[in-house]
């Protein structure tokens, strides 16, 4: 059985299930369509304006109340928060998409070979802000009920473990904007080492004016597109004014190739490699700015482990948030890959469509990347028709509309985060 002891094995790891709930779509098919159509999920929210935020736009998945009742019981919803609900929906979707059957709550059977690493950036901020803090400050501690269960940071993975009777590693990681990617890398390594056969991995993020207001105060959210929300998220643009805050979840079911083959599962793509590191907040890196050498080492590490040559990478699904860091990120990709601008892979930003879902960003964008590989397209990176001048040499490498690429084989996906942390994954179209 997997998980009993470390073994010197190197399993190939593949993706057999996808679950996603993003601002522009819920579900694999709708999300793929939204990507191809370059559909924006960024909308105007009066409640952001009403509290005095300068940014009035965001990316919040629609119809959550109706949707959540289809996935969770009334009792489960009583102790849910946005993040755990998004994580549950996307995990159940990934599970069933992989051809697995949701276990009965009455059954005592535990799946010891499957685990979940589902991260979050901000956790249950809304529960703390709207329930715990007001009640405690009013001296009504007794009225907190089971709010602690509702606000545990590990709520994402804890809830999903119960829904699916998971018995392997169950954990909620957190590394800001690289959280989702980091989860996929951790899950990949665990399966590769033979410690698990399957892992649900990705990220989930709720939406709360309490966390978004803090970002607004730091002036890192866009202010100039409140009247045109779909134009607000502008990665790589000369008029990029900050990242659009967003919510949702993206979950991938990673599985050992042997397990996937044994049960005849559909394989979307192979995870060739994954690397995580930190720039140490040195050499120009700070809490909020990346050490370029850290970024380059992370990318180079992932590429080296993958065994593919830089020239073989067809596309980059970047971190690219629509801040000052975008041109630096592209330059780091170029120097890490050692390619001239004209020879670079296609560079695009899923955040241009859905905003920046923080701890969920990597998970949702990995789902996008795997769909692109499986179906042979690179979605258009919108709102950068006025490309940043520093990116002029890359003008031919940035698709503004969706490119159909049936022969595409390799995509690199990176996420970088607060604290100078980096995570890069190399996905390849599955070949036996």
């Amino acid at each position: 059985m997997a998980g009993s002891a470390p073994r010197a094995v190197t399993e190939r790891v593949v993706i057999t299930g996808l679950g996603v709930i993003a601002s522009n779509a819920h579900g694999k098919e709708a999300f793929s369509r939204a990507l191809r159509e370059c559909k924006s999920g960024v909308r105007f929210y009066p409640h952001l304006r009403d509290i005095g935020m300068a940014c009035h736009v965001g990316g919040i998945p629609e119809g959550l109340d109706e949707l959540s009742a289809q996935y969770l019981t009334e009792e489960e919803l009583l102790v849910a928060n946005h993040s755990t609900t998004f994580a549950s929906i996307a995990s159940i979707d990934a599970w069933t998409d992989a051809g697995l059957v949701r276990p009965s709550p009455e059954s005592d059977e535990v799946d010891w070979d499957t685990g979940a690493i589902i991260g979050t950036g901000c956790g249950a901020v809304e529960v703390l802000a709207e329930k715990v803090v007001p009640l405690v400050n009013a001296g009504k501690v007794r009225r907190l009920g089971s709010s602690m269960e509702q606000s545990f940071i590990s709520g994402n993975s804890a809830r999903v473990a119960g829904l699916l009777a998971l018995g392997n590693q169950v954990s909620t990681n957190s590394s800001a904007c690289s959280t989702g990617n980091e989860a996929v890398v951790e899950a990949f390594i665990r399966i590769r080492e033979g410690r698990a056969k399957r892992m649900l991995a990705g990220g989930s993020e709720g939406h709360s004016k309490y966390s978004w207001a803090g970002a607004d105060a730091m002036k890192v959210l866009p202010r100039g597109f409140n009247d045109a929300p779909e134009k607000a998220s502008r990665p790589m643009s000369a008029t990029a004014g900050g990242f659009v805050p967003a919510a949702g979840a993206g979950i991938l079911l990673l599985e050992s190739l042997s397990s996937a083959k044994a049960r005849g599962a559909r394989i979307y793509a192979e995870v060739l490699s994954g690397e995580v590191n930190c720039g140490g907040q040195r050499m120009g890196g700070t809490m909020s700015a990346p050490n370029p050498e850290g970024v380059r080492r992370c990318i180079r590490g992932a590429v080296a482990m993958s065994g593919v040559r830089a020239e073989e990478i067809d596309a980059i699904n970047g971190h690219l948030t629509a801040t000052f860091a975008d041109p630096h990120e592209v330059e780091s990709w170029r120097t890490a890959l050692g390619l001239s601008p004209s020879k670079m892979p296609l560079i695009h930003a899923t955040k241009s469509l859905i905003g920046h879902a923080l701890g969920a960003a990597g998970g949702i964008e990995c789902v996008a990347t795997v769909l692109e590989l499986h179906e042979g397209f690179v979605h258009g990176s919108i709102n950068c028709e006025d490309l940043h001048p520093a990116l002029a040499p890359y003008a031919e490498r940035v698709p503004h509309t969706t490119a159909v690429l049936p022969n595409m084989k390799v995509i690199a996906k990176a996420s970088f985060g607060f604290g100078d942390v980096n995570a890069c994954i190399i996905f390849r179209k599955f070949e036996n």
């Binding site: 009792e75 009583l78 102790v79 009225r143 089971s146």
Partner: protein
């Protein structure tokens, strides 16, 4: 408020917490809240808060701990309502 009315309100409070919907459909005074309705023990604290809110009563921890069945909850509510009247 008579026993029937209190019973109906208590059942309405328990409804979202009850995992066994069949047992809920046939609920009676002797129905056990955890054993029969399969209410998660971690939710009992929320149920007590709901009872307090809906009936305008204060439930002591030691009294709450003695409640096993729906009938126990109904009796406790009626006793506390009467005591506070």
């Amino acid at each position: 408020m008579d026993q029937k009315e209190v019973f109906e309100k208590v059942v309405a409070i328990l409804k979202p917490f009850a995992k066994n919907k069949d047992a809920l459909a046939n609920v009676a005074l002797e129905t056990a809240i955890q054993k029969d309705l399969k209410v998660n023990s971690a939710r009992l604290v929320d149920i007590v808060l709901e009872l307090e809110e809906i009936f305008g009563i204060q439930v002591k921890d030691e009294d709450a701990e003695k409640v096993r069945t729906v009938g126990d909850a109904v009796n406790l509510v009626m006793y506390l309502k009467k005591a506070s009247a």
